[in-house]
């Protein structure tokens, strides 16, 4: 941890990861007599019950109910419904569903690819800037992170303005000043999807950057010194030392941003509303529309169950990565 943080703007604490590594080793240490005694100080139940009640009422129970509704023909407009698998057959034979899945897949894969590449590039630059006390590093990092704390709706609105074809659209104004005809970033179906991806990368890169930056700081500098002694070039050091050391953080990052992107709804709603046509209607937005625009609770619940299953799959992968890392 010899990264100097002398730069006034750089508020990172190089000790961050050390602080969090301590408890792991402490937890695995031999139990002391006092600790054995503390086991007799009542069960954990009273400590956990408030949280369990809250989560059961507002999370678990609704999640189970979604499953139940998916096997009905329920509608928001009618109080009565009957059970069956009609909703599943209707959703799974609807070509719209597969179109939405395809759009979602492109959206998620492209977003995570660019977020990881850009996030890693920025993390490397910020780390280098902090190590060499390059002025402006802290300010720069703050700017990147600011885009991440903005409400998703506002991000959608910002990009809706920036990409607009009207006189107030920034990109088209720039293109216009260079004599290039205006581009329908939000009105041409193929381009619109990439506009949504662009806005999502703008929003999500900071999160990848901050995790990867923490990962970079935890790499033992001795590895680089050894590499230098062996005559490794900067590029070799990156491929042979940096990337392999970042593997666990990269994997965790991958899972987290996949699920975040997958659940994205607000930003798309403000940016394109899923249009033009259905060109940018991702699964979360589709689920909302089916229920709250078409009032079809049964079919919307089928989509929600699919979302739930995917979340579950991502969680299992995440837990595997986490426990694999813990064992190191």
């Amino acid at each position: 941890m010899d990264a100097p943080s002398g730069n006034a703007g750089d508020r990172s604490s190089p000790g961050t990861l050390d602080d969090t590594q301590q408890p792991t080793s402490r937890r695995e240490g031999p139990s002391s007599p006092a600790r054995a005694r503390s086991a007799h100080r009542g069960g954990a139940a009273p400590w956990l019950i408030p949280l369990l009640v809250l989560v059961t009422l507002f999370y678990l129970y609704p999640a189970v109910q979604v499953l139940r509704f998916s096997f009905t023909d329920a509608s928001l407009l009618r109080p009565t419904f009957t059970y069956g698998i009609d909703s599943y057959t209707r959703v799974l034979t609807d070509p719209t569903f597969f179109h939405v899945l395809w759009i979602t897949l492109v959206f998620v894969l492209a977003s995570i690819f660019f977020q990881l590449v850009l996030g890693l590039t920025i993390a490397l630059a910020v780390q280098r800037g902090a190590q060499n006390n390059l002025p402006g590093t802290g300010l720069f990092r703050t700017l990147v992170l600011s885009s991440w704390v903005m409400p998703g709706i506002v991000i959608g609105i910002v990009w809706q303005i920036v990409l607009n074809s009207a006189s107030y659209g920034m990109i088209n104004s720039i293109l216009g000043s260079m004599g290039i005809a205006s581009v329908g970033f939000l009105s041409r179906p193929t381009i619109a999807l990439w506009s949504v991806i662009l806005a999502n990368v703008w929003r999500g890169t900071a999160f990848s950057m901050i995790l990867l930056y923490a990962g970079l700081q935890s790499i033992d500098p001795v590895l680089y010194e050894a590499g230098e002694v062996d005559g490794a070039t900067g590029r070799q050091a990156f491929w042979r030392i940096t990337l392999p050391s970042l593997r666990p953080v990269l994997l965790i990052n991958l899972v987290l941003i996949s699920i975040q992107t997958f659940n994205t709804f607000d930003m798309v709603l403000a940016l394109t509303g899923g249009g033009p046509g259905r060109a940018t209607e991702v699964l979360a937005l589709r689920t909302y529309n089916v229920i709250f625009d078409s009032f079809s609770l049964g079919e919307g619940s089928v989509l929600a169950v699919i979302m739930l299953l995917l979340s579950l799959a991502f969680t299992l992968i995440y837990v595997r990565f986490l426990s694999a890392e813990e064992r190191l």
């Binding site: 508020r11 990172s12 990861l17 969090t20 590594q21 006092a34 086991a39 100080r41 009542g42 400590w47 956990l48 949280l51 989560v55 009422l57 507002f58 999370y59 609704p62 979604v66 509704f69 928001l76 850009l118 590039t121 630059a125 280098r128 060499n132 390059l134 720069f140 700017l143 990147v144 903005m150 409400p151 998703g152 709706i153 506002v154 609105i157 910002v158 809706q160 303005i161 006189s167 107030y168 920034m170 104004s173 703008w202 901050i210 995790l211 923490a214 900067g234 659940n263 607000d266 403000a270 979360a284 689920t287 909302y288 709250f292 619940s301 979302m307 979340s311 837990v319 986490l322 813990e326």
Partner: protein
């Protein structure tokens, strides 16, 4: 000589990355700020110009003087505070138990908390909407903030547990030796030294709560009850085509609280985020 040259090349590349990202991340915001200070004529006539000819604060005053927007901001503040503080109240004891006590199903509890965080709030809103409608709990800040708490509680638990893990166990044990019960040890010894952990949990959950959209969008249809994350969308509906400069000013007002808090206190947040997410 070569080392120096390599170093200088590295500096140049670092600044190249900074420059590219400044444009990518900064320019859209700069454009929004520029729009928010323009007069209506300048929005629709002028070409590429970042600095308005006749800068005006009219857009801001007109947004703020409409009582509706103030109400949005106030509602956001209420829901954010209730959601974040409530989430910490529910999370703190559970996080302490997860950090200090051995109980059956502890790994399952931790994985469960983690997996809740992966579930889109949209999914749980589907049945909740129906039930709240049946119970007459729509358009209520009370029921909405309970849902906020439920959505924020996994993150709060995770952050607080991470912080408690970093506090030496000897502290609790010393308290037991002095005759404290578990509860007393927690309240009198651990809580006072956990203020930075609570600050981090509060800030992160508050930033999330400020931007939370799906929950209030579905539960609050009465404009007077809506937070700014929902209200700005109806602003977009009414102003996007006709008065973009007003929408720009509103968007900036909607993001400023979260961004300002973040910039002022980013040290806490970044630390909590990286330790919580990377180390689990």
């Amino acid at each position: 000589m070569t080392v120096q040259r390599r170093r200088r090349r590295g500096d140049v590349m670092t600044y190249a990355v900074f420059f590219f990202c400044l444009i990518f991340f900064g320019l859209p915001l700069l454009w929004l700020i520029s729009l928010s200070f323009r007069t209506a004529e300048e929005v629709y006539t002028s070409a590429l110009k970042f600095i308005p000819e006749n800068p005006t604060t009219f857009n801001y005053t007109s947004v703020l003087s409409s009582g509706r927007f103030q109400q949005y901001l106030l509602n956001s503040l209420k829901l954010t505070m209730a959601g974040s503080i409530g989430a910490m109240l529910f999370a703190a004891p559970a996080a302490y138990a997860a950090s200090r006590m051995k109980f059956r199903g502890r790994p399952l509890f931790l994985i469960g908390v983690l997996s809740l965080q992966m579930i889109s709030p949209l999914v749980i809103m589907i049945p909740l909407y129906r039930y709240f409608a049946d119970l007459g709990l729509l358009d209520s800040h009370l029921s909405t903030s309970l849902v906020y708490m439920a959505i924020l509680v996994p993150l709060a638990t995770w952050i607080l547990k991470g912080y408690f893990d970093g506090i030496p166990k000897e502290l609790d044990e010393a308290a037991f030796v002095d005759g404290c019960s578990r509860r007393q040890a927690f309240l009198r010894v651990i809580l006072p030294v956990s203020v930075p952990g609570f600050a981090a949990a509060f800030l992160l959950t508050a930033i999330l709560a400020w931007g939370e959209f799906v929950v209030p969008y579905i539960l609050l249809s009465e404009p007077a009850m809506q937070p700014v994350s929902v209200g700005i969308l109806s602003f977009q509906g009414s102003f996007a085509q006709t008065a973009t400069q007003i929408l720009a000013a509103g968007s900036i007002l909607a993001m400023v609280p979260a961004v300002a808090v973040f910039i002022a206190l980013q040290r806490f947040i970044v630390q909590a985020l990286t330790s919580g997410a990377v180390k689990g």
